[in-house]
Amino acid sequence: MAFEPILLRNIAKPGSETIGSYLASGGYQGLRRVLKEFAPEAFVEEVKASGLRGRGGAGFPTGAKWGFLPKATDRPRYLCVNADESEPGTFKDRLLIEKDPHLVLEGIVLSAYAIRSGTAFFYIRGEFHEGARIFSRALEEARSGGFLGKNILGSGFNLEVIIYRGAGAYICGEETALLESLEGKRGLPRLKPPFPAVVGLYGCPTIINNVETLANVTLIAERGAAWYAGIGRPPKNTGPKLFCLSGHVKRPGVYEAALGVPLMELIHEYALGMMHPDRPLKAVVPGGSSMKILPASKCDVLMDFDSLAAAGTMLGSAGGFVMDSSTCIVDALLNIARFYAHESCGQCTPCREGTGWFVKVLRRLEHGEGRPGDVDLLLDVARKVEGNTICPFGEAIAWPVQSYVEEFREEFDDHVARRACPLARMAAS
């Protein structure tokens, strides 16, 4: 565990959220450098060269996304910061917002400059009261410091950042639902195409980026794409990454490591190993609740976009949860399914109806009322949800269902055969 924190370099300092502390550790130098040395398009190229991929879940290359904006447009362009962080198991953006808001804000100013946007919206999860308070103070500080507002650092570039607090729906983290919510409507994902880069907020070209993604942009501005691209597993899995670890580990938390850190190293060295030494590892969900599960036998993987894809799952939001042998997988899946049934926006048929169905079947299984055929039914329903919905939320529940069942089929069948949970861990509901 030799990774020197970059993203989290400031958070342990007292008062790390203040601009004084940020400036003292060299903050806003990257912005100064870029405003002086880079035309917006040149900085887009710089970000492309860094290999930065989005930290919000899909891992889409950030520079390439910016490149999708129409070249000629007479409409305003918007930057929307996705600070809705609601994926179960994920709590990394919150740390950045609360402990190093200026690192994020500098990235926002840089990105807005790159895409020639004069207005950025900071869409923050409704429950993050503290984060919203801290971030709005950071905005004021930055404005008085000349890092925000009109003619930033004398460059002629203007930017306003508007904080918008969500109302507590997970789906508003999906980028188009976020836009609807920002526009004051019900947070329902939009049909794509058109993509937000072309028709986004208020019908204008819009880029949506995750908080952590933008914090990485600050790093690129500070030290250059070449330096950045040397971290992790170039060329496609570069840079530092925040990993959230929760579940049966000794020290849950947010840990920074280079992309490509081995999962087992995260568990054993960063999180100090399993919570109960006598209970072996059973499974890990490496990417947040919507990603596929890895049984212990498949946990020898590197934590980066492509390695996890090769292992049949995804890095997602890097919200990893670790389960030991005391975990009932049916119960774990029921827990997740309840979340998704509650959070489905209800717009499209397969997700609206399928999520509730999963819960009902899983609840019976866990309560010893499973019937032959139930497990195959789960798989079949998941197959009919997958790929057939408006937004990726459908997969976000179909994939867990499929992978939990496929990896732990015996345990599911056992629930049916015994008409009881073998681990006698009855779900609360």
């Binding site: 729906a169 789906i171 019900r186 329902l188 049909l191 049934a341 509650h342 959070e343 489905s344 926006c345 209800g346 717009q347 499209c348 048929t349 397969p350 609206r352 109806e353 399928g354 999520t355 509730g356 169905w357 009902k360 079947v361 019976r364 019937r371 039914l377 009919k384 790929g387 057939n388 919905t389 408006i390």
Partner: protein, 574 residues
């Protein structure tokens, strides 16, 4: 009929695709080999050519796959898509295979592209439809035996086409309010709702009243209203029509008839000068509902609530079922009489006035609610055969034109009256006649299809001086109560005739029910009265009357019932 299952209106002429009927293409699920690209027909500059199930289609750029398929006669099943509304893409019933795209794509939101190869009948597509049906039904109450929508319900229809026929869902269903008066005339059964949002989009985009929204999430999602603002707009009934299931029902129609007993007669609404195309649904000689019929040149898919309820007057207003005569003395009560006797009396009374006081003592008031045929005969008989010098048409106006359908002019045939030569509706001329009646200058008055007491221009006593008040109307109005002779006519829905809307479109209104009692179409009553003044000609049918009118009136020259068809035709100069 609610909006047809066919997504685009079928043109009345030309090489139209086979009418869709109620069944979408029953898909034999044979896998289809990709036709060679050479099969693609050439496309113009604003067009794209694609293959859909091997059928070549050339469509305008921007056409969706679902619409392109319809143009070559392939109906992709759909719930949320409606040609008059924005695309929601939420039901997922229209998922189809498109070559080079790994996921199925929704036909309603995917634009047809040059060279696209679309497959709508593969096993994969079919299985997906089965899956969507299953999802829609797991929390559905299956009220079909007591549901007004049964028989014209898409959920039923597609279940018959794609359903499993049994359920794998053995859990408690989600429950919702079942008899919720979501608006003054609309009842909502939230358990039947499939959340297609058609009703919501209608209120947002068409009526622009925005009463409806989705509430809650997941499988608890429910359509609702905002506090204190029920679904109450001038067009609310359309939400019932476009609701693909029995979630929204029209209160006046609830439990009135099973829809498969209804006979839909294509007609035109007579509620205002727009002339919305409608279907009159008849069962046991009653009109049970009026629903809009698609006519892109007139009302598109919609009609207003007032028009929708207008047929009720036929049953609700007091009728008189046979001719009525006032007994010997003018103040005696009205008594039933035979047609011949009543017509003789009417003719005698009018002739007495003409003989005693001259023709200038005769006047007539005829209604722009009457058909071209009626008004043509009014001109012919009252104006020419009897020689009444003054015929006036009262206006009926209310409110303002809105920007959707409703016209301030509440008469359906003012343009028709004008082109026949009766002049535009003119309250001054009506008032003059009535004042002259009060002063005794007019002594004989024929009133056709109007209740002259309604306007409040004259008091009943003012008409006391009339020697002859002959009224032809379909209901027992206060004017009828004053008549010396009252002749019962067919009401709306009982006659065939032509109405010319404010844009000059001549359209056919049709009889859906038999006339009440001895009522006759106005034109025939006038014909028989005319016979007593030497009227020749045959005038056997409404279409015959129209043909003669078309032969003598240049604006409608060349028109006939056949030419008018079901969508009407513009008169000349329109």
């Amino acid at each position: 009929m609610p909006e047809p299952f066919h997504p685009v209106p079928i043109p009345p002429t030309g090489p139209a695709p086979a009418p869709p009927g109620l069944r979408p293409d029953r898909a034999p699920s044979e896998p289809e080999a990709a036709p060679p690209a050479a099969d693609l027909p050439p496309a113009g500059p604003d067009e794209v050519a694609l293959l859909i199930d091997g059928r070549p289609a050339v469509v305008k750029k921007g056409t969706t796959v679902l619409e392109a398929a319809a143009q070559v006669g392939l109906i992709i099943p759909h719930y949320c898509y409606h040609p008059g509304l924005s695309v929601a893409g939420n039901c997922r019933m229209c998922l189809v295979e498109i070559e080079k795209m790994p996921k199925l794509q929704i036909g309603c939101a995917t634009s047809a592209a040059q060279g696209m190869i679309v497959r709508t009948r593969t096993e994969r597509v079919r299985a997906t439809r089965t899956g969507i049906q299953e999802f829609l039904l797991i929390n559905h109450p299956l009220d079909c035996p007591i549901c007004d929508q049964a028989g014209e319900c898409r959920l039923q229809q597609y279940e018959a086409d794609y359903g499993k026929g049994y359920s794998r869902f053995d859990e408690e269903k989600v429950h919702f309010p079942k008899r919720y008066a979501i608006g003054r005339n609309v009842m909502f059964d939230a358990e039947r709702c499939i959340k297609c949002t058609r009703c919501i989009r209608f209120c947002d985009e068409i009526s622009r009243t925005g009463e409806l929204t989705l509430l809650e999430r997941g499988d608890h999602t429910i359509v609702g209203t905002f506090p204190g603002r029920p679904l109450d707009n001038l067009y609310s009934g359309n939400t019932v029509d476009i609701c693909p299931v029995g979630a929204l029902t029209w209160k006046p129609f609830r439990f009135k008839a099973r829809v498969w007993f209804l006979r839909n007669v294509p007609s035109v609404c007579a509620g205002c000068a727009r002339g919305c195309n409608v279907d009159l649904a008849e069962y046991r000689n009653r009109i049970h509902r009026m629903t809009p019929r698609v006519n892109m040149d007139v009302n598109r898919y919609w009609m207003c609530d007032e028009g929708r309820m207008s047929h009720a007057a036929l049953d609700d207003r007091p009728r008189f079922e046979g001719p009525l005569l006032r007994a010997a003395c003018a103040t005696g009560p009205l008594q039933p009489a035979a047609w011949e006797e009543a017509l003789d009396r009417a003719a005698d009374l009018l002739r007495e006035v003409a003989d005693g006081s001259g023709r200038n003592a005769l006047a007539g008031i005829v209604s722009a609610r009457l058909s071209v045929e009626d008004l043509y005969m009014a001109k012919k008989v009252l104006g020419e055969a009897i020689g009444i010098p003054r015929l006036a048409v009262p206006p009926h106006e209310s409110g303002e034109d809105d920007d959707l359908l409703i016209r301030r002019d509440r008469t359906p045939n003012a343009r028709g009256a004008a082109l026949i030569g009766l002049g535009a509706p003119d309250v001054r001329r009506v008032r003059e006649i009535l004042q002259d009646a009060a002063s005794g200058r007019v002594r004989g008055l024929v009133v056709v299809g109007e209740d002259i007491m309604e306007a409040g221009i004259v008091a009943a006593e003012a008409l006391d001086r009339l020697q002859a008040l002959v009224v032809i109307d379909w209901w027992k109005s206060p004017t009828v109560d004053l008549a010396h002779v009252a002749l019962p006519a067919c009401g709306y829905g009982e006659f065939d005739g032509t109405l010319v809307n404010f844009e000059g479109r001549a359209q056919r209104a049709r009889a859906a029910v038999r006339p009440r009692g001895e009522a006759e179409p106005v034109w025939r009553v006038l014909r028989d009265l005319g016979r007593r003044f030497g009227l020749g000609g045959e005038y056997a049918t409404a279409s015959g009357v129209f043909d003669e009118a078309a032969a003598v009136l240049p604006p409608i020259a060349g028109l006939s019932y056949r030419v008018l068809g079901s969508l009407g035709a513009l008169v000349k100069g329109a």
